[in-house]
Amino acid sequence: MLDDKTYAELRQIAGRYPQARSGLLPMLHLVQSAEGSVTPAGIDACADVLGLTPAEVSAVATFYTMYKRHRVGDFHVGVCTNTLCAVMGGDAIYQRLQEHLEVGADEVAPKRQGDQYTVSLEHVECNAACDYAPVVMVNWEFLDNQTPDGLVRTVEALRAGHPVASTRGPKICTWRQAERVLAGFEDGLEHEGPAAGPASLAGLALSASGADGAPRRNFPDDVPGPAPESDRAPGSPEADPVQSGLTHDELEHEIGDELRDEDA
C-alpha cells in the first residue's frame, strides 16, 4: 500500500489534466519515486485513482523504458551507445564501466563496505546531446564529453557519497528524487548550472565575434549574447573532461570560471 501522502499526490497529478488519465505517465514517475520502482502496489494505486484496471496500467508501464520493474541504483548511469556516441567513445565507456562495476545492463552493482550509495548501469539511446558526445546520463542529468576513466572516477565519487555536479545542471540528486521532479513536483534547482554548455554556444560565439565574416547585426535588436569563453574542441587536451569525476567543490574550482559565468 502507498501512503496517504502519495495517494493524495497521485490525485493531484490526475487533477492537472482535462482528462485524468493523461496523468498516468507522471503518476508512474511518482510511484517510482515513492516505491523505488513500479511496484504492484503502485500499479494498483494508479488504477484506483484513474478508474482503470491494473492490467491497463501495467500495459502502459511496460511500454516505456524509464519505468523499472526492478530496483535501480541510487545513481542510475545511462551510457549512450547509439551510433554517434558509440563511435565517439560510448562503447569503450560502457565496456569499461561494465568491467569496473562487474554488472550487466540494468543491474545494480553490489554495495561495498563504505559505500554510501548504489550505482546501476544501462545503455541509453540518443539523449539529444550529440554535440557533447560521448554522453552519459546519471539520473537523467547530462555528463558531457565523457571518458572511460573519468566516468569510473565519477561513479566512485557517487558511491562514496561525494557530491557530483552535472556538466549542464545541478549537483546530481538521487534517482528517486529525480523521479519526483519528473512527476511535476519542482525541487527549486532550476537556477543551478549554466544556461548553455560551450557546444550550444558555438555558432553564437562565432557570429558575436564576427569570425564568420557576418556584420554585427544579429537579430533581434543588434544585441548578440556575450561570446562564451570556452571553445573546447573534442580531441584537444583541455577537452578531456575529467571534471565530472571530481567532487562538486573540485569541479567548481576546475571549470567554475568557464562554465558557470552565467550562474553568477
Binding site: R168, A196, A202
Partner: protein, 431 residues
C-alpha cells in the same frame, strides 16, 4: 555567395541567467506576445502562413497551413469542442540536439511561442510534451511556465509541461497524443488528422518545439523579414546541429540553404588529420550523404533532390576512421528497440534487418545478404504504419548505395577491418 550565421532563437543563450523571466524580458522577450494579443487570432495565423515557416520537426509542412486545417469552432462536427495546442518536445531522433539546448537556455522562448500560438488557434489548454530523460530541462520548463503564469503573461491559458517516459516513437505526433492521453505511445491511423480529431478527439495543433519557438520572432519582426531569409521555398532560419568528428561541434543557427561545406568551415573543419566519410543531413532516419554532397544547399528541396531529407538539420559527421557497417547496425538496433510493435512490417522487419546486419558485420553470411537487406527494406518502406519503419531503411539503403564495397570487405576480411578506438574522442589521449 556564402551564407552567414544568423542567431535568432540562439541569440540569448549566452545571456546571464538566460532561463529566467527577467533575463528574457531584458532581451525583448514577451513583446511579441503583447503585439499578438493586439491582433485578431486569424491575423496571427495569416502572419505565420505568410512567413513561410515550415515545421521544424522534420516533415517540413507549412506551419500556418497546419493551423488552417482546424475545423470551424461554431459550426459542423467540431462545434463546441475545445481546441488544444500540443508542443512536441520529445526530441529523440539520433543526431537531433537543438530543442533540448533551446529549452534549457531559454525556456521562455518556447513559452512565449506557446502563448502566441494558443491565441492564434483559440486554444485554452496547451501541453508541452518533453521527453522524460532530460531532468534539468524539465525543471527549467516547469519554472518558466510558472513564472509566466505568476507574471500574468498567460491570461486564461493553461500550460501543462508533461514529462514522457522513454519512447522514441512518441516523437511521432499521433503516438505522442496517445501517450499524452495516458496510453502506450502507438501511432494512430490518419485520417482523421489531429487538426480534426487530436487530443481527446478534439481539434489539435501539434508542432515541434523549434517551430513554436520561432513564432515570437516572426510576430515581432514581421513575416516579410522571415520570408526574406533562406531560400525561395525554404524560408527563414533554423538551428543546424553539428556533431561527431568536427573540430567545434555545436549549434549553428543560419538561414536554410547553407551548405555543410560552409558549416564545416565555421566549425573548424572535420577532425584534424581526417577526411569526411559520411554524414546525415537530418538525423539517422534521413539517407546518408558523403563528401560529394558538401555543397548541397541544406533546404528542403535541395536535400530531397539529392536523395535525402532535411529532417531536423541534425548533421552527424563521421570521418574516415568510422566503419559504416557498424554505424548502420547500431542505428538498426535502435529502430528495432524503438519499434512500437503495432504494425508487422516494422516490428518484424527491424528485427530481421538487425539479424542480417549483425551477421554481415561479423564477416559472416554472403554478398547475397546485401540483396536480402534491400528486399527487406523494400517490404518495410511505405508499408509501415508510420515513418519509423521508413526511417529504419534509410541508413541501410543509402549505405549500400555508397559503401557496398565496405560490406563486402567485412566478408573478405572475416570481420570488421576498422579499429574502433581510432574513432573515439579520446583517441591518442590517455583518458
Amino acid at each position: 555567395m556564402t551564407t552567414e550565421l544568423l542567431p535568432v532563437l540562439t541569440a540569448n543563450w549566452g545571456d546571464e541567467r538566460a532561463w529566467t523571466l527577467d533575463a528574457y524580458r531584458a532581451h525583448g522577450g514577451y513583446e511579441a506576445l503583447e503585439k499578438a494579443r493586439g491582433m485578431e487570432p486569424e491575423d496571427v495565423v495569416e502572419a505565420v502562413k505568410a512567413s513561410g515557416l515550415r515545421v521544424r520537426g522534420g516533415a517540413g509542412f507549412p506551419t500556418g497551413m497546419k493551423w488552417g486545417f482546424l475545423p470551424p469552432m461554431d459550426d459542423g462536427p467540431a462545434a463546441g469542442k475545445p481546441r488544444y495546442l500540443v508542443v512536441n518536445a520529445d526530441e529523440s531522433e539520433p543526431g537531433t540536439c537543438k530543442d533540448i539546448p533551446l529549452m534549457m537556455a531559454s525556456p521562455h522562448t518556447l513559452i512565449e511561442g506557446v502563448a502566441i500560438s494558443a491565441h492564434a488557434i483559440r486554444a485554452e489548454h496547451a501541453f508541452i510534451y518533453l521527453r522524460g530523460e532530460v531532468l534539468h530541462v524539465y525543471r527549467r520548463l516547469l519554472a518558466a511556465a510558472r513564472e509566466a503564469r505568476e507574471a500574468g503573461l498567460l491570461g486564461d491559458l493553461q500550460v501543462i509541461v508533461h514529462a514522457g517516459a522513454g519512447a522514441y516513437i512518441c516523437g511521432e505526433e499521433t503516438a505522442l497524443l496517445d501517450s499524452l492521453e495516458g496510453r502506450r505511445g502507438q501511432p494512430r491511423l490518419r485520417p482523421p488528422f489531429p487538426a480534426v480529431e487530436g487530443l481527446y478527439a478534439s481539434p489539435t495543433v501539434i508542432n515541434n518545439a523549434e517551430s513554436i519557438a520561432t513564432v515570437p520572432a516572426i510576430i515581432k519582426n514581421g513575416s516579410e523579414w522571415f520570408a526574406g531569409l533562406g531560400t525561395e521555398k525554404s524560408n527563414g532560419v533554423g538551428i543546424f546541429s553539428l556533431s561527431g568528428h568536427v573540430t567545434r561541434p555545436g549549434q549553428y543557427e543560419a538561414p536554410l540553404g547553407i551548405t555543410l561545406r560552409e558549416l564545416l568551415d565555421l566549425a573548424g573543419g572535420v577532425r584534424a588529420g581526417h577526411e569526411l566519410k559520411f554524414w546525415t543531413p537530418g538525423g539517422s532516419s534521413t539517407p546518408l550523404f558523403t563528401a560529394e554532397h558538401l555543397d548541397v544547399p541544406l533546404d528542403f528541396e535541395s536535400v530531397a533532390a539529392a536523395g535525402s531529407m532535411l529532417g531536423t538539420r541534425a548533421l552527424q559527421i563521421f570521418d574516415d576512421t568510422v566503419c559504416v557497417v557498424r554505424a548502420v547496425l547500431r542505428w538498426t538496433e535502435f529502430y528495432k528497440h524503438e519499434s512500437c510493435g503495432k504494425c508487422t512490417p516494422c516490428r518484424e522487419g527491424t528485427y530481421w534487418l538487425a539479424q542480417v546486419l549483425a551477421r554481415l558485420e561479423k564477416g559472416q553470411g554472403s554478398e547475397e545478404d546485401l540483396d536480402l537487406l534491400l528486399d527487406q527494406c523494400d517490404n518495410i518502406l511505405g508499408r509501415s504504419f508510420c515513418a519509423l519503419g521508413d526511417g529504419a531503411t534509410s541508413p541501410i539503403t543509402s549505405s549500400i548505395k555508397y559503401f557496398r564495397q565496405e560490406y563486402v570487405d567485412h566478408l573478405t576480411h572475416g570481420g570488421c577491418p576498422f579499429d574502433p578506438a581510432a574513432s573515439t574522442l579520446f583517441e591518442g589521449v590517455r583518458a
